[in-house]
């Protein structure tokens, strides 16, 4: 049994109460929801918060709903809810693609989108999905709320824009009628973190790529967008030639590191291959959607 360092524990029954506790107890206080990243780190004593504020009772933050031309996802929405949401399945199947390869059912039943994004693990899948889709995060404090684009959310690995007395309450994704999307991941074993993963979406108008997004996991910053590849795709006819060019750009853009999952050159090659595959699959879904 692994034993964490001593810590205090409280649970919050509202967002306001959670924010008040964060403010009162200072920067060594951490929110805990699913706890699937934080608790293992605490047990290994890599993380040593003085106090945990349990937000699992904030069930009013568990939702996936359409709000005008956006999808709003509450921060306490569990992976399993994302995986089974008909709304996401119809508008952005990239969520289902990703959820199918995130950890295992036990983790997916407890882990939340808010926790996943705020952990800031460079290999985390939902960070890449939300960055791909150009989503944004609502961050609340006692004094107000601000909205930060997912692509600006990370200051570095395990480091986000969220201040010590703030919490993410919602993730917002713009709806793009007719978009196709997909997520491709290679891991050493089902349930493992990605060696590399690529998410993308496409909208196509008259055979030409009108809009697109590409997000990478495990090969640089969390939710790393492949900006050059995106720019190169826009306005170009959808097809293998465009995908191949984007794949090369994404591979050139990423910054993989050699580790136990493999050498950097492999990961770079994988990004190219997975970019091609994700684009093909997303494009097929555009067609299937009748756009």
């Amino acid at each position: 049994m692994q034993t964490p360092a001593p810590f205090e524990y409280e649970h919050a029954s509202s967002v306001d109460e959670a924010l008040a506790l964060l403010e009162r107890h200072g920067p060594e206080t951490r929110l805990v929801a699913g706890g699937h990243s934080l608790l293992p780190m605490m047990k290994l004593r890599l993380a040593r918060p003085e106090r945990l504020v349990d937000v699992n009772d904030l069930t009013d933050l568990a939702y996936v709903r359409r709000e005008g031309d956006q999808i709003a996802i509450g921060a306490l929405t569990r992976h399993a809810q994302l995986a089974s949401s008909p709304l996401l399945a119809s508008l952005y199947p990239i969520f289902q693609d990703a959820e199918r390869v995130i950890a295992d059912p036990v983790v997916r039943n407890r882990g939340t989108i808010g926790g996943s994004l705020c952990q800031g693990d460079p290999a985390e899948d939902l960070s890449a999905v939300v960055a791909t889709l150009g989503g944004s995060l609502k961050i609340r404090s006692r004094t107000g709320e601000r909205v930060v684009a997912a692509r600006d959310f990370y200051l570095g690995p395990y480091e986000t824009q969220v201040g010590p007395a703030e919490m993410v309450t919602e993730v917002v994704i713009p709806i793009r009628p007719g978009a196709g999307s997909a997520y491709e991941k290679v891991e050493r074993r089902p349930g493992d973190w990605a060696i590399a993963a690529v998410g993308c979406f496409l909208t196509v108008s008259g055979g030409v790529i009108a809009d697109c997004g590409i997000g990478l996991a495990a090969v640089g910053a969390p939710g790393l967008p492949a900006l050059e590849a995106e720019a190169a795709l826009r306005g170009r006819p959808a097809g293998e030639e465009a995908y191949a060019a984007a794949a090369q750009m994404a591979a050139a853009h990423c910054r993989p590191q050699t580790d136990q999952r493999g050498p950097a050159e492999y990961k770079r090659d994988l990004v190219a291959e997975l970019t091609r595959r994700a684009l093909r699959r997303a494009a097929a879904r555009v067609m299937a959607g009748g756009a």
Binding site: M1, T3, R189, T258, Q260, R261, Y266, R277
Partner: protein, 812 residues
């Protein structure tokens, strides 16, 4: 003797003998009511925690424990210096080396034990570790085993007087001269280097112990996660100088062992010391990371194989050089005479003219051990070597791997067969087992589909330059044929620290006909409580539900060396059969006295002695048991009661064998491999409980897939273990496993009283080369002949490009 004849069923519906029945132990395990070490809570019990080294190699300059001692819940802090005073700083290993209980002079591996804290609870003990201040002077480590004997390499074991290098042993087997001759005359010689990486048993339950030294009686009781309680008792006695009759080892339910729980770890000794110092029971249970970084690993064999053959595929000879990485202390668990265990069974299942191996053991700055891990004493490494070499030869000669095996497998008329390194294989019909497996796999059809798939891949644009083009996958088909020598072992050949490997067994039939069987081996999940009851049922006709199997407590069971190397059924199973037969013969005398006839006039009908020619007249075992405990007058010299005890010294090992066929799907664009099918045909002799045998095979196959594709204990160049959690040390899950396709052939062992051969490690031994051969076969379009395990997506991707990596060290 055969398992195929139908046996009568008991009132509970269980076979009175061999056959499928649910495991007796499952009722408690499935309800979460097993009683494991960490479930044991004694009054006043304290908790221990170990401070471990962050360096692979460093001189200990100083240790300051004052802050830890001041912690309000800490009862004792123990250091190596304190142990030196008690002459307990070093303990003997199973290979006649010594290992530091707590470091005194240097630390020699990442994770080595440096100090021990005893506190009121586990959290406080762990907290107090952070209050200990240790000053280290880092030294250059030896991490690369291939450089351990290099000129000027740092000397790890300067504690051994006069030690000037990192050499442990040289050992050889087979006929060097004859082998060299065969090679010099051979038409074809192929060589291949291969690493069987360091892997870890990773049992679900980690290791631990609760020691209670009773100051009044002087009795030490240790509850311990051990596969070998009797061996532990003797070792505790030798380590601590405790009188052996005052030492009692109790092994409760064990959550998996796989060889990890054979040896004695510093934590066990420290729990004893903690109890001596505090006068209270002390519990120490390691956490997952401690288990992975510090306890007995397996394998770590750097092998160079050479195979000689004629051009038409007749194998002539096999030659192997091995560099064996034993870590910082030689703690490998092997029979004394065999420092490389049974590795010299490497000629495998083949009829060849000569074979020779040389093994050199070296120290490195890594965790010690090298214990079994489901390998029947390094048969795993041997089988991997020969089965890879046969495929390398097949590739060289352009002969189908199945055909090459067909040409060279030993023939039934050659048994008993003395192989070229001296093993006497007891029985076998290898060709038939291979054909059953090939038939089951639909081998010819598989090869046809594989060829079509390769054609599709090429047509779609796939090529070595652009493997992923076109998106077509490639099929790989891999075979292996293994022969194990298990059931260690005959006392004349095998001992550990001078202790022979014979097993005791006691059987008591109570007056009402219910029985207790006391065995010396220790189940870790293999189902002994069921299998051994079925053996007694088979011999005595007592229903298995009426037989209690008692194990795991040295005060209540006869001596024996425990469960590992698939030895339980071959050795203790034989003992159980023999002791049952003794009781049966005693029952015959009692029955004869009751029926007023001569024992020779009686014949045995399962569960009953009856008069020949007058079967109405007879006595059941239950009736005989009551008579034996009653007032019946017995013949001169016959004592009452119905019990017996035996010690079984096996005349030879048993030699289970089998054929494995693996089919994989390779995604050449990513390097990802998926096992699509796995066919395993095992011949382990008659199957006592086929369900349990199949369960053992399923587990072993999963294990083999894990080792082939994902498992490795890896280090960086500084010696930090990179595999200290189950996020880093990957174990296979159900998602990595296909639906296993099992088959059997039955060739009894001629010398075992039940003909059974043992099966615990068969699948673990046989499956890794089948998976690797399948992956290498899938890589045929890339001209790949070998890549080391684990064949992760990265390793496969690199292999496609002709530059697979070493998998023991990760270059960051």
């Amino acid at each position: 003797m055969t398992a195929t004849t139908p046996v009568p069923l008991s009132p509970a519906g269980n076979p009175i003998g061999f056959g499928r029945m649910l495991r007796k132990e499952d009722a408690r395990f499935l309800r979460g009511q097993g009683h494991y070490l960490d479930d044991i809570k004694l009054p006043g019990m304290l908790h221990g925690a170990i401070l471990r080294s962050p360096h692979a190699h460093a001189r200990l300059v100083s240790i300051d424990t004052s802050a830890a001692e001041a912690h309000p819940k800490v009862k004792a802090v123990i250091t190596g210096a304190m142990l030196e005073g008690l002459k307990l700083a070093w303990m003997p290993t199973l290979s006649r080396d010594v290992q530091a209980v707590l470091a005194t002079d240097k630390v020699r591996f990442f994770g080595q034990e440096v100090a021990f804290v005893v506190a009121e609870d586990r959290y406080s003990a762990r907290d107090a570790l952070e209050l200990i201040v240790v000053e280290y002077e880092p030294l250059d480590p030896v991490i690369d085993a291939r450089l351990a004997l290099a000129e000027g390499a740092p000397v790890i074991r300067d504690d051994i007087e006069g030690k000037k290098d990192n050499h442990i042993f040289d050992w050889e087997a087979g006929d060097r001269e004859a082998t060299d001759r065969v090679f010099s005359e051979a038409e074809v010689v192929v060589a291949q280097d291969m690493l069987y990486p360091r892997v870890h048993p990773a049992p679900m339950e980690t290791c631990g112990s609760i020691a209670h030294m009773d100051r009044v009686t002087g009795q030490l009781t240790a509850w311990s996660t051990t596969q070998a309680p009797h061996a532990h008792r003797t070792l505790y006695s030798l380590v601590a100088g405790l009188p052996e009759h005052k030492v009692r080892i109790i092994s409760p339910d064990i959550g998996g062992g796989f060889g990890n729980k054979v040896g004695i770890y510093p934590g066990y000794v420290l729990a004893v010391v903690g109890s001596i110092v505090t006068g209270k029971p002390v519990k120490w249970v390691e956490d997952r990371s401690e288990n992975l970084i510090s306890t007995s690993f397996a394998r770590d064999y750097h092998m160079h194989g050479e195979i000689a053959a004629s051009r038409d595929g007749k194998i002539k000879g096999l030659r192997v050089r091995v560099l064996a990485d034993h870590g910082a202390f030689n703690g490998t668990a092997q029979p004394t005479k065999f420092p490389a265990g049974c590795f010299h069974i490497f000629p495998g299942s083949y009829d060849l003219d000569a074979a020779h191996c040389e093994v050199t053991g070296v120290y490195t700055n890594k965790a010690p051990g090298g214990v079994a891990y489901a390998c029947s004493f390094r048969v795993t490494e041997a089988v991997y070597l020969v089965e890879r070499m046969v495929d390398v030869l097949a590739d060289e000669l352009g002969i189908d791997p199945a055909e090459l095996r067909r040409i060279n497998l030993l023939r039934p008329e050659q048994f008993p067969y003395t192989n070229k390194t001296g093993w006497v294989y007891d029985s076998g019909d290898y060709g038939r087992t291979l054909e059953v497996a090939l038939e089951k796999a639909g081998y010819t059809e598989l090869r046809r589909r594989q060829a079509e798939g390769r054609e599709r891949w090429r047509a779609a644009g796939g090529s070595p330059e652009d493997p992923g083009a076109g998106g077509e996958h490639l099929m790989g088909i891999g075979l292996s044929f293994f022969t194990e020598g298990v059931g260690a072992g005959p006392k004349k050949h095998m001992d550990i620290l001078g202790l022979g490997m014979a097993d005791g067994c006691e059987l008591r039939v109570h007056p009402t006909g219910k029985a207790q069987l006391r065995i010396s081996v220790q189940t870790q999940g293999q189902g002994h409580e069921t299998t051994f009851a079925q053996i007694v049922a088979h011999e005595l006709g007592i229903p298995p539900e009426d037989i209690e199997v008692i194990h795991g407590d040295t005060d209540n069971t006869p001596f024996g060396l425990g469960t590992y190397g698939s030895r339980s059924t071959p050795v203790s199973g034989a003992a159980a059969a023999v002791v049952s037969q003794r009781v049966r013969e005693k029952a015959r005398i009692v029955a004869a006295a009751a029926l007023e006839c001569s024992p020779e006039d009686l014949e045995w009908e399962l569960g009953r002695w009856q008069v020949k020619g007058d079967p109405e007249k007879g006595k059941t075992v239950a009736e005989i048991a009551m008579l034996a405990h009653g007032t019946l007058e017995l013949p001169e010299g016959v004592e009452g009661h119905l019990d017996a005890s035996v010690v079984y010294d096996p005349p030879n090992l048993t030699y289970p064998y089998g054929a494995d066929i693996c089919v994989v799907d390779l995604d050449p664009g990513t390097g990802r491999v998926k096992v699509d099918r796995f066919i395993a045909v095992d011949d382990c002799g008659p199957r006592i409980n086929p369900m349990i045998v199949e369960g053992q095979v399923h587990g072993g196959l999963a294990d083999g897939v894990g080792m082939a594709l994902m498992e490795a204990i890896q280090f960086d160049r500084s010696g930090t273990c990179l595999s200290g959690s189950l996020m880093d040390y990957l174990l296979p899950t159900s998602l990595d496993c296909p639906s296993w396709e099992l088959g059997e052939t039955v060739t009894p062992s001629p010398h075992h009283p039940l003909g059974v051969k043992g099966v615990g490690e068969s699948a673990t031994v046989g499956s890794p080369p089948a998976v690797v051969n399948a992956v290498i076969d899938a890589l045929e379009p890339f001209g790949v002949r070998h890549a080391d395990m684990p064949l992760t997506p990265a390793q496969v991707w690199l292999a496609m490009r002709g530059r697979p990596l070493r998998t023991d060290i990760v270059e960051m």
